[in-house]
Symmetry: C2
Amino acid sequence: MTSERTYHHGDLRRALLTAALDVVAADGPDALSLRDLARRAGVSHAAPAHHFKDRAGLLTAVAAEGYALFADTLADAPDLRERGVAYVRFATRHPAHFQVMFRPELYRADDPALLTAKARATETLRAGISTLPDAAHGEDPRLTGVAAWSLAHGFATLLLTGNLSDALEGRAPEDAFRALAGLVFAPGAAEEP
Amino acid sequence: MTSERTYHHGDLRRALLTAALDVVAADGPDALSLRDLARRAGVSHAAPAHHFKDRAGLLTAVAAEGYALFADTLADAPDLRERGVAYVRFATRHPAHFQVMFRPELYRADDPALLTAKARATETLRAGISTLPDAAHGEDPRLTGVAAWSLAHGFATLLLTGNLSDALEGRAPEDAFRALAGLVFAPGAAEEP
DNA sequence: CGCCGGATCTAGCCATTGACAAGATACCGG
DNA sequence: CCGGTATCTTGTCAATGGCTAGATCCGGCG
């Protein structure tokens, strides 16, 4: 057991982060209260400050962890389409990370650790474009990148905000996105039997 | 002048809404404080409660107004592509409305007025799909709709979170999206001279 | 004209929160 | 064994949302 009841918690930082992820996944980042996290961890209301300085500090840590996880996840996908599917899957499996990552006003976007993780994720995303057959590149590959990113991000966002629940009709989001991506990026060619 | 300094404000409701839009556009919905709005309007800290009940009530009004405006804007666009452009334009011109609309945890999503406005917007969006040439419909037109929606929504969202600033290189967002949409939905055919 | 009821706004209060400061306690290296 | 530092606690303050009770204004009706 990691928390017996000593003066020192053992791994308060991790405990607070985990509790924060729970809260955010359940009720969104706005519902997150440092004092509530402290209560959950069984420490005093000022204990979190020592590890994260303030609310923004905690959320910076969440975002940084999210970007790192994100980069790992994306790197595992073979081609652009599966990378999009991984994007959507990440959003559904790690909704707390995802939500915080894309609300920069919540954290310190200039944090070094966060910037490194984010750069890695961005690079992975960019690399995915090159897996497209040359014909599918527009004149401007950068624009193609933005298109792919927008498609995946929009789908994930709409999904998390509950705007797709009726359109999907119980279908697994990832499968729906796979079909949708094929529809858009490889018209009439990439449908699997 | 609409506010001379009487006991009754004249149009406090509108004044509060307008002030709220300013704050949200500048610093996001989290920065919004009922007491601050009251101060801006020169009324007591409890005055807003009479018009909006509570914070969620005020944001419900913002979202409802947003969906109504949104439906009007989308209806003016001739085809699907321009409807997407209008989607992006709406996000840039009415960032406060847009942000609130797509954060349902901030307001009462079952509000009748809001539901009507939202239904109208959704219907307008759905109708846009039928302007596509038949060939572009996938087997499942509903999936095509989700694809179009995701593309526009993702682009708008990434834009507002500052994630596209470098990829666009000073280009006007609407133009960038127009090019991008042509690239995706009418491959090689719809490029304008 | 007078007055009454409802709409609008004010004043006061309480619990909760984030942030800060000062002090207590536990752990670690020498 | 001892001093220093990291970790945690206690106490405090201003700001906020939300509630209740009361003041003020407006319009209609006798």
